[in-house]
Symmetry: C2
Subunit: 155 residues, 2 copies
């Protein structure tokens, strides 16, 4: 564990609150003991609902390292990642996550991920967005086009 | 349903494949019958593992409309959103999603979300990232700081 990682994540979270940038969350990506990406929640600052601290830190770390794979990095975040950020951690290939508060702490201050977990788990089929399937054949043609492409980059 | 929405999502997906920008996915956000955000997977183009088509389209729609709430918008996507994108749809407040291919189609061409679903569901506790809790008290202090702030923007 890199104590510096969590210290900086907390400083990020604090500065985000002070500036009114969004929710009280900060995150840091560490590679070989060095911070390669850091950020805090910027949902309000940038009118971007995807700008959670972890997403911001992951995007910056990837930009800094020049690759979309962070499997040799660790994430430090002041709160257990929400399902969006957890999936982003997985897509980035990160193998170790240090987190401060948990999902129940977050729910206490108004950031409740329970509905998202419940819908993804199939435990709530009524309160999520209406999901309507259409145009599968046309969409699948693009899948085949990609699959048959010789120079595609797999990720 | 807005046929134009899915047509443009498919055109986006196709152009992404042709340019080698990333996976074969496109998405469009419609507001009052008009496209306010569109995009395709740009993971490879920008070295950004979070640049899935839906995330790109949502971010652009929010930038165009100047707000982080898309509860009066619809999403058209050529594939059922992965857990990251589904959670982003929820955070954006989108109430209706039209999708082409489904998660099984995506798995067929190598984009398998099953592990992410399984970890989020608690059905796989061994193959995900190691999750280590630490510094909860220091992190929670920032939660309280935000909670007690009078001019905070709730979202």
């Amino acid at each position: 564990m890199n104590n510096h990682g969590m210290d900086v994540a907390i400083i990020e979270a604090k500065s985000g609150v002070e500036n009114g940038d969004g929710g009280p969350f900060g995150a840091v990506v560490i590679h070989n003991g060095i911070i390669v990406g850091k950020g805090h929640n910027e949902v309000v600052l940038h009118n971007d609902p995807t700008a959670h601290a972890e997403i911001v830190a992951i995007r910056r770390a990837c930009a800094y390292l020049g690759r979309f794979d962070l499997s040799d990095c660790e994430l430090y975040t002041t709160c257990e990642p929400c399902p969006m950020c957890f999936a982003a951690v997985q897509w980035a290939g990160i193998k170790k996550v240090y987190y401060g508060c948990n999902r129940d702490d977050a729910a206490q201050i108004g950031f409740d991920d329970k509905l998202i977990y419940d819908i993804l788990n199939g435990n709530n089929t009524t309160d999520g967005p209406e999901m309507i399937n259409c145009c599968r054949d046309e969409s699948f043609k693009i899948f085949e086009m990609w699959y048959n492409k010789n120079d595609k980059v797999q990720y």
